[in-house]
Amino acid sequence: MSTDANSLDDLKSAATDAAEVPKESATTYVPFYKRVLAQKQGKIGLIITMVVVALALCGPLLLPWATGNTATEFVTKPFSPYGLFGSDNLGRDVLSRFLAGGLTLIVYAVLATALGMIVGALVGMLAAYIGGTFDAVIMRINDVFLAIPQLVFALLAITVLGPQGWVLVTVIGLTHAPRIARVARSATLGVITEDYIKAAEMYAMPRWKVLIRELLPNITGPLSVEAGLRLTYSIGYIASLSFLGLGLQPPAADWGLMINENRIALSIQPWGVLLPVIAIALLTIGTNLLADSFARATASTSVEA
């Protein structure tokens, strides 16, 4: 639509007098964040994410009861004199453990996503920009990594290195990288044929500057979508590993682990399972909604550009 409007403007100035100096037209540029927030998905996603993150961040500060306290007489009771949501399989306060249990998950997920984004985007951009053998080799290596599902890869790493935090973050981050690299590469390939890249090359702009100044700003759209998606997946994988008992180890308070420990008693004391399940669900829905709104915001620029 807007390209039509452009040519209409052209026509207007042309119609009156071909040689006339073109008139100044109003700016149509809308910043990315505004385009994100202009959408329902963007707003809802941001609010949900903020609420869960705030809960996880501030939770440890407002614990009603210490997370390790056990009171055996209250094992697996829906409601206890201690807390609103009762106690878990060892008689620990569910609400306290719930409030304390999100922080590590979120921190790990963010770190893993950041690691994957940095490595993946860099490798993908370089592969597309340098091309040739380098590109071919990188892409073949990528294919190999893609053949093993991320969760299986993580399990392999945990078998060898044990269920430490850094192992989780590193292996999830590094297995994101080939997938992100693919996106970054194809986005870069789309931009690299544009004449403004050739123009920069023509003026002998240093190559790193071409990457940073000309390329990167034009692929932030797809990259931000990818970051949102990868964050969603990171949360899912790390929570899944904890759920499998291969992430954070007892007696740590963690949502995934809480679900694992309490799921047998789902019918007697649902809160021990449902609270963390709802929190994880909300968090992933929130981040995924954000990713979706990034995608829509990106699509609207590409129409404009």
Binding site: D4, L8, D10, V21, D195, K198, A204
Partner: protein, 597 residues
């Protein structure tokens, strides 16, 4: 916007008469948001006649054409007005707007057929071409038997000049050339002997020679089948070639309508006049882009500039080039400053010289022994159809393509193949303007930022002086310095191309390479850009290599004309000489194929 513009009519053919097959009256089309796109359009199509519907992009010509078929693209809807059709054999007329889905489908493809703009996109890539023609016959229950339908497919293929045999019918669209694909489209349209034909820029993507064949086919088929045609195009030259009547559209209004000769020779509406003035003519009788004031002064003044024709002295000048190159490297800087009064070096060596430039990718010889020279202030047009290697050549000159053999010399000094390896002065000396203004400016950076890059990279001046230079350049392309902080997305195509030209000017080059810089633009914008280039040449003594596929522009911009065919220069000399006395068969064919004005 809803007020209806009065259409200038040259005759009363639009009044009811028995020849009329389709009549559109007071047609209004809205966007889903309710904005009016067509503001009440009236025209009529008569049997055996083609009405050309002309307009620039955004004028609503395609929307009007599709509305005749009761089709509206995503986001558009019918407003008011009527489209009536009188099918052959029917006593009464049909009102297209009142038909239900089924009746409309019966009409489409059988009574009204459509020939689309881009055959490559409009043929189903996963269906054999014969099957796609057959599909029309099957849907509309042509004939009585399979045999009859199969015969009709073969017959209509032969009619459009393609082989009708089984083997050809079993081909996939991607196995055909662009011209052949378009003829499949035409065959599909004529298969059911339609009454009305809507042709939506059917030759836009094709080369001039292919275009003329396709136009012939259309013309001949229309007359033979006694069909009423609506030919939608932006190209006035094509209109003159193919249509009997013409209607001019401007932003959703029909401003002028009448017989071709009347409208094109005696245009009444201001817009038509402007449009006619903007169309380049091969004869170069008018000056496009501004008033008739400066006329052909430029072309005549440059009569005395010496031209090295490609066939001349192969060995000799290469040697003398070697001798000079030492001294020239030192002189480079001085020459770029005092180039106007012509230093010792530039008096003997041409400003820009391409010698034996060749380029091959595997077996494909893209360029083959190209020799070209350019003197200060001179403009050479490099003319070629798609695939001739013209863009490759211009990119070799600019150092964007470093796979070539042979040499490119600037003031006698041989240049490195890649811009990155050329010296600062050499890079500054040759500037390149890209074809598409929609791709040559980084959408994320302001015009000012993009235009500062050449200065930054050549290390000239301070931040303040660079800004001043950029603003000056913006002034000289008639954009104005208010554009400094704007982004490409805010600019129209013409404005962007001006900004791109300004980027090439900031370094005060001596040679500017313009690669098809007007081909993505509407004809009126093209005219204004050509006028701008003429002015710049005079103001700055700029030498120019103007690359284009449009031979009609030659007299309007170029002193010399080099015709490129399949990687070889087949004709080279002063523009007038090449046009009037072409030495090569290919050039003669090109000139003959250009729709004349």
């Amino acid at each position: 916007m809803s007020t209806k513009t009065e259409t200038v009519r040259h005759d009363d053919a639009n009044e009811p008469n028995e020849k009329i097959v389709l009549r559109v009256s007071d047609l209004r089309v809205l966007t889903n948001a309710g904005d009016e796109i067509l503001h009440g359009v009236d025209f009529a199509l008569a049997r055996g006649e083609i009405l050309g519907l002309v307009g620039e992009s955004g004028s609503g010509k395609t929307t009007a054409g599709l509305a005749c078929m009761g089709h509206f693209r995503e986001g558009l809807k019918f407003g008011s007005g009527s489209v009536s059709i009188w099918p052959r054999g029917d006593a009464t007329h049909l009102e297209v707007g009142e038909l239900d889905e089924v009746a409309l489908r019966d009409l489409r493809g059988s009574r009204i057929a459509y020939i689309p703009q881009d055959p490559a996109l409009s043929l189903n890539p996963a269906m054999r071409v014969g099957e796609q023609i057959r599909e029309v016959l099957d849907i509309h229950d042509f004939g009585a038997s399979d045999r009859e339908r199969a015969d009709r497919v073969a017959e209509v293929l032969v009619d459009v000049g393609l082989p009708g045999d089984r083997a050809y019918q079993r081909r996939w669209p991607h196995q055909l050339s662009g011209g052949q694909q378009q003829r499949i489209g035409i065959a599909m349209a004529f298969a059911m002997y339609p009454d009305v034909l809507i042709l939506d820029e059917p030759t836009t993507g094709l080369d001039v020679s292919t275009q003329s064949v396709v136009l012939d086919t259309i013309r001949q088929m229309t007359v033979a089948n006694n069909v009423a045609g609506l030919y939608i195009t932006h190209d006035l030259a094509v209109i003159k070639d193919i249509s009997d009547r013409v209607a001019v559209m401007l932003r959703g209004d029909l401003v002028e309508e009448g017989p071709v000769s009347a409208v094109l020779e005696r245009p009444q509406h201001d817009y038509t006049k402007m449009l006619m003035a903007a169309v380049p003519d091969l004869a170069g009788r008018k000056t496009i882009g501004d008033g008739a004031a400066e006329a052909k002064a430029v072309a005549e003044a440059d009569e005395k500039t010496h031209i090295l024709v490609s066939t001349g002295e192969p060995g000799g000048s290469a040697d003398s080039g070697e001798h000079r190159s030492d001294g020239d490297a030192r002189d480079g800087e001085a020459a770029s400053a005092g180039e106007r009064d012509g230093g010792a070096a530039s008096a003997t060596a041409p400003l820009l010289e391409a010698k034996d430039v060749a380029l091959a990718y595997g077996k494909a010889q893209i360029l083959d022994g190209i020799n070209l020279t350019l003197e200060p202030g001179e403009c050479t047009m490099l003319l070629g159809e798609s695939g001739s290697g013209k863009t490759t050549l211009s990119q070799c000159v600019a150092g964007l393509n470093d796979d070539y053999k042979g040499s490119v010399r600037l003031r006698g000094t041989e240049l490195a193949r890649s811009t990155r390896k050329r010296t600062n002065e050499q890079r500054v000396g040759i500037q390149y303007v890209f074809q598409s203004p929609f791709s040559s400016l980084n959408p994320r950076r302001s015009i000012g930022q993009s235009l500062t890059v050449p200065l930054e990279m050549s290390g000239q001046g301070t931040a303040a002086s660079r800004k001043a230079t950029v603003e000056e350049a913006l002034d000289s392309v008639r954009l104005g310095r208010t554009f400094y902080h704007r982004r490409p997305g805010d600019l129209s195509g013409g404005e962007r191309q001006r900004a791109a030209i300004a980027r090439a000017l900031v370094n005060a080059p001596s040679v500017m390479v313009c690669d098809e810089i007007t081909s993505a633009l509407d004809v009126s914008v093209q005219a204004s850009i050509v006028a701008l280039l003429r002015t710049l040449r005079e103001e700055r003594q700029l030498a120019m290599l103007f690359v284009t596929h449009n031979i009609a522009l030659s007299r309007h911009i170029a002193d010399n004309l080099a015709v490129l065919n399949k990687g070889k220069i087949v004709d080279y000399g002063p523009t007038a000489q090449v046009l009037e006395d072409p030495s090569h068969e290919y050039t003669r064919a090109l000139i003959a194929d250009v729709p004349k004005f």
